[in-house]
């Protein structure tokens, strides 16, 4: 296949599909109890320099209890797959992110991320490689397929391509130019779900975002769940299981684990808290004060929930509209 053009972005995580197969072969296939707490999960599975991904994103079904614990344990030099809002902002603000496969980091209707700009200026974020959301999910899909790349028709003709690590080739079938994007195999993926059993069989309500593809594209998969259910509940509706147990390494019980984000049908997003972050993150001093108050000074997720307060959490549940 003739290579016509190459993106100048660095390939941050080479697609070692054979290594991935060997890794997956060694993964336990037994139904063992994988429950543990945030502190143990982060200590055991997340290491300095790891390439990590969180799903979905900061204001929707996001594993915030684990993100906060990564910050508490100060795991540095992380590389991040960046489709993020609040969660990537706090990781960046804590100075833990070195390299990003980047597609979106911002605060949705509250505009740009001030933190990413400061981290780039300070030189703590050393590498940013551009992709589109489509390219990213296709990179996960390639990893899920066990192949080193996948042809896509996104990014063509743009600077998004130029600053990526994609390649432009002549299609061997049609002769037309087409982009190839490399498989993205994460060291650690972290996904928050509605319910899981102790073995890691997971069900998600509502849209599934990147969860299907990402869960199949990581060496280590950490699940946090609003609810731990008996395997009987899973077996009653196996068609609802999006992530089967053998993909999963750890299961954390994290009620309100997505706060300040939403968890559809359980609780709404905490608009005031998201606005608070949008405001305090404008300045380094207030950003640090926020991190102290809501993360560093707290022992664990339970203390975080205590700080947010039962009344507020109850309110976020009460305002969930009916599904009719």
């Amino acid at each position: 296949m003739k290579i016509l053009q190459e993106g100048i972005g660095e390939l941050l995580q080479p697609p070692d599909v054979n290594g991935f197969r060997e890794w997956n072969r060694k993964k336990s296939k037994s139904l063992i109890d994988k429950r543990m707490n945030d502190a143990e999960v982060v200590r055991r599975f997340i290491h300095e320099g790891d390439f990590i991904g969180t799903e979905l994103y900061g204001s929707v079904r996001c594993p915030m209890s684990i993100v906060n614990e990564i910050i508490r344990q100060d795991i540095k030099n992380l590389r991040l797959v960046g489709q993020g809002v609040y969660e990537s902002d706090v990781l960046l603000a804590a100075g833990l992110i070195k390299e990003i496969d980047y597609t979106y980091i911002g605060l949705e209707l509250y505009g740009i991320s001030h933190v990413i700009r400061r981290e780039i200026d300070a030189g703590r974020v050393e590498k940013i490689v551009e992709w589109s959301n489509g390219a990213l999910v296709w990179r996960f899909k390639a990893a899920a397929m066990g192949v080193p790349f996948i042809p896509v028709r996104s990014m063509l003709g743009t600077d998004t391509f130029k600053y990526s690590a994609a390649k432009l080739v002549e299609c061997p079938y049609t002769g037309d130019p087409i982009a190839l994007v490399p498989a993205l195999i994460l060291d650690v993926g972290i996904i928050h779900v509605h319910r899981a059993d102790k073995y890691g069989n997971c069900q998600i309500d509502g849209i599934t975002g990147f969860a299907y593809e990402m869960s199949r594209a990581c060496k280590t998969l950490i699940i946090s769940a609003e609810e731990i259910v008996s395997t009987d509940v899973i077996r009653r509706q196996p068609d609802r299981t999006i992530i089967p147990y053998y993909l999963v390494d750890a299961v954390v019980h994290a009620p309100f684990g997505s706060h300040p984000g939403e968890m559809c049908y359980h609780y709404e997003r905490d608009e005031e808290h998201i606005q608070l972050w949008a405001e305090v993150s404008k300045k380094p001093e207030t950003t640090q004060e926020y991190l102290e108050k809501y993360i560093y000074n707290l022992k664990d997720h339970q203390e975080y929930l205590d700080l947010i307060g039962e009344e507020r959490l109850q309110y976020l549940q009460d305002i969930v509209p009916s599904r009719g």
């Binding site: 589109s132 489509g134 299907y212 509209p321």
Partner: protein, 255 residues
């Protein structure tokens, strides 16, 4: 000039909304497109199938979505799948319109939402492509919604995040993008713009009420083609304004 009973944002939303046709599929980005889609569903396009990036398809926009992945993006929807299904539907040619925004646009409709200034030493780091590049690559017709000024409408964008007609006629196809796709309209607070069928350069189709052609040209940082007859958009109707204020954005997120 008579006192207007609406603001520029409301005009922008109405203009975008009128472009959304019934019985069609439209990819809806964050912000104004959400309001426009909701208004269209309540006005002339009850069967507009809205498609949101992270998997919501066919939502009824009773409550205004604030996030493209939030539960309102699949409220009473027809399906709630994932991002792959949505992007691939566009890739197979199933999504007619893509409504997106950007910080800068050039005469060929190329959009920048990645960076102002140098990529490595940015003046402003913008949120990035997200699904923008995919929408502009795969949807049949892309509609950009922008504020209109000389810093945004510029001869050359700092970074092409999302492809317009790239460098002119034939360049999308030469780059490998699907044929017969590309920018269709640009909706701004001052005007409705399209693209010349041959040269693929941006063309003024209509001004917003009370705005002159000269004002539009003055606020555009490149030479703008003029349609044979530049029309004036009708102002928001009583009905549009009522629905917009009392129903679409009843929580006052945007207007």
């Amino acid at each position: 000039m008579t006192e207007k009973n609406y603001n520029p944002n409301e005009m922008l939303i109405c203009t975008a909304s009128r472009l959304m046709t019934d019985d069609s599929t439209a990819f809806i980005g964050t912000g104004i497109p959400m309001l426009a889609a909701s208004l269209a569903q309540k006005m002339h396009a009850p069967n507009l199938t809205t498609i949101f990036e992270f998997g919501g398809m066919g939502a009824i926009l009773d409550d205004l979505p604030v996030a493209v992945g939030g539960r309102r993006s699949f409220h009473r929807a027809l399906s709630a799948l994932g991002i792959l299904d949505v992007i691939e539907a566009a890739g197979r040619g199933l999504i007619e319109y893509g409504f997106i925004g950007g910080a800068q646009i050039d005469p060929y409709g190329n959009l920048n939402s990645t960076v102002i200034g140098d990529f490595y030493k940015p003046k402003v780091r913008l949120p990035g492509s997200g699904g923008g590049n995919d929408v502009g690559s795969h949807c049949w017709q892309t509609i950009a919604i922008m504020r209109h000024d000389k810093r945004r409408f510029i001869p050359k964008v700092d970074f092409i995040t999302t492809p317009g007609y790239l460098t002119g006629p034939g360049s999308r196809e030469a780059a490998g993008l699907p044929p017969n796709t590309g920018p269709y309209r640009v909706v701004t607070n001052l005007a409705l713009l399209g693209f010349h069928p041959e040269s693929k350069r941006m063309m003024l189709l209509a001004t917003q009420p009370g705005v002159t052609v000269e004002e539009v040209l003055e606020c555009t940082g490149f030479e703008l083609l003029l349609a044979d007859e530049v029309e004036e958009n009708p102002p928001p109707s009583e009905e549009e304004l009522k629905i917009l204020r009392e129903d679409v954005d009843k929580e006052k997120f945007y207007i």
